[in-house]
């Protein structure tokens, strides 16, 4: 009988049963795209496919900086060494754009990545080059640490999200805990009120994150499978709030992961076995 899907003990119980049933093994680590409290997320849908047993480490709100820490990577590496998964699923980087910042206690880090509104400037020019370069360097370093620590055990599936939306939508957890919005207040504080410009700026940021991951796949083809999720979700329909898809949206994203596991993973595994 099923238990609460967010509970780590329940997740381990499920994984043990899936192993005994002979399902292929995966390890997952990540943020709310793998562990979204209000409704089923990518991993929940993958878990329901009846093909994979998934040893889950993800936690909603987690940052790449934390996931790439020595202690966390050591914990996952020892599990991967023991469990011998076919792949490691990894979702990170999003929350690193929304950490607290001391100079604007009510806003998130993304505020630093934005320049004040200037009607003469393009969306790309509204991105603070210095702050964003620093963040991209942090993200790349974090992903490289993950690849270095876990890549030897199994190919790692990475994604760079779809285009976030500055909708200003809040979210409620457990019926009473509010969270967000994460993006719109920072945009408004910078004077960026035009919805089309907001969307174009977010497009620049998400494209850059995806370029980092695509480059990592090129550099480490035996360790990284980059899953491009851009264009998967319909704006305004498949987003529950600014940074999380609806349940149907997560299901669409899961299909991309499923396709990558079925169609692309075997090729990478063959290459790894050949070397």
């Amino acid at each position: 009988m099923s238990g609460e899907p967010w509970d780590p003990v329940e997740r381990d119980r499920r994984y043990a049963s899936c192993k005994r049933a002979g399902l292929a093994r995966l390890v997952s680590e990540g943020d709310s795209w793998f562990d979204y409290p209000p409704h089923p997320n990518i991993i929940d849908w993958l878990d329901g496919e009846g093909v994979w047993g998934i040893k889950r480490f993800e936690k909603s709100g987690d940052t790449l900086e934390n996931m790439a820490s020595d202690s966390n990577l050591s914990r996952i590496a020892s599990t991967a060494q023991k469990e011998k998964p076919e792949a490691i699923l990894f979702s990170a980087g999003g929350n690193d754009l929304f950490t607290d910042i001391p100079e604007q206690p009510k806003l998130r880090w993304i505020w630093r990545a934005l320049n004040p509104y200037d009607a003469q400037q393009t969306a790309a020019e509204h991105v603070n080059a210095l702050a964003w370069d620093e963040k991209k360097t942090e993200l790349r370093r974090g992903f490289v640490r993950v690849i270095g620590a876990l890549g030897e055990y199994a190919p790692i599936l990475l994604h760079g999200y779809d285009y976030l939306t500055a909708s200003g939508e809040k979210v409620k957890y457990d019926g009473f805990r509010p969270a967000g919005p994460w993006i719109l207040p920072s945009m408004q504080d910078r004077g960026i009120n035009d919805a089309a410009l907001q969307q174009a700026i977010l497009r620049v940021l998400i494209d850059d994150v995806n370029q980092i991951l695509a480059a990592l796949e090129t550099t480490y083809p035996d360790s990284v499978i980059y899953v491009n999720l851009r264009g998967t979700l319909r704006p305004g329909t498949d987003w529950m709030n600014e940074i999380h898809p609806t349940e149907d949206g997560f299901h669409k994203v899961e299909e991309r992961f499923r396709d990558a596991l079925i169609e692309r993973l075997p090729t990478v595994q063959q290459r790894r076995n050949a070397t």
Binding site: M1, W6, V9, S17, A21, L23, G50, V51, K172, E255
Partner: protein
């Protein structure tokens, strides 16, 4: 065989090609080994007082891991910790065989569970020498998980139990229950701790006489309305196969007059799960 038009053939081809085929999908039942022991302020079974004493509850569940026939064996005990009863059924022990049939897998699982139970009440002769100390029961349960995404509630577990005594009482008992879980997980070193509050509401109907009553069988009708709250601390060691849970149980029940006065109870339970 009916021939397909070119349009129908086209649609069929699109359908066949649109989804990545998933070779072998397996519905995975819960097949963990579990054990628990609890001390409760009232020795209750289906809100009937078995004895006016503190109760020791205990149980062990052991799966028979047969391919395609997921059977679970379970032994449960209700043991009075103070004076042996002279008016209730007294100590009770039960042996159950369950079969779970999964109708839908995650993320919204639905299943039905069929069971056969053998009860043994070694002290029942003190209540009436004519009462048999053993009885049998057939049981069926329907379980379904639903969510309320707009309220941030991931899972509401719905459960309908039907049980029919086929030996001593020939009585029927039906209970509908809904529970949800609110909680958080904290990682400390290698260990994950989760704390959760699990409220449950239930209403039941029966034609059970109650252990203190005699005479003609009552008409089938209201049995009890229950509200329970479990406060649970679960500990997960990611690389270990043993997990533990400690639960503070608070319960209250509005009972049909034939079952006795309304009642409130507290309990503390320690559970172990072997994966």
């Amino acid at each position: 065989m009916r021939h397909l038009s070119s349009r129908q053939a086209g649609v069929l081809l699109v359908l066949l090609c649109s989804a990545t085929p998933v070779a072998s999908q397996i519905r995975v039942p819960d097949d963990s080994i579990a054990a628990f022991v609890a001390v409760e302020s009232e020795l209750l079974w289906r809100n009937l007082s078995l004895a006016d004493a503190l109760g020791l509850r205990s149980g062990v569940a052991y799966p028979l891991r047969l391919p395609r026939i997921p059977l679970q064996l379970q032994v449960d005990g209700w043991t009075a910790l103070a004076q042996r009863p002279t008016s209730g059924y007294g100590d009770q022990y039960a042996f159950t065989v369950h079969y779970q049939h999964i109708l839908a897998d995650r993320p919204h699982p639905k299943s039905v569970v069929f069971g056969y139970v053998e009860y043994w009440n070694p002290n029942v002769g003190q209540l009436s020498p004519r009462l048999a100390s053993r009885t049998r029961e057939l049981r069926a349960s329907a379980l379904a998980d639903v969510g309320i995404p707009s309220e941030g509630i991931r899972t509401v577990s719905l459960r309908l139990d039907v049980a029919r005594d086929i030996s001593r009482e020939n009585a029927t008992w039906i209970r509908g229950a809904a529970s949800a879980s609110i909680g958080a997980t904290v990682q400390h070193g290698e260990t994950d701790y989760s704390v959760s509050a699990i409220p449950t509401i239930a209403v039941s109907m029966s034609d059970l006489r109650g252990p203190r009553a005699s005479g003609t069988r009552p008409a089938f009708g209201f049995h009890s309305a229950d509200a329970e709250l479990d406060i649970e601390l679960r500990t997960r060691w990611p690389t270990e196969s043993l997990h533990s849970s400690t639960t503070l149980q608070l319960g209250s029940s509005i009972r049909a007059e034939r079952l006795g006065a309304n009642i409130g109870w507290v309990g503390i339970r320690q559970s172990f799960l072997i994966l």
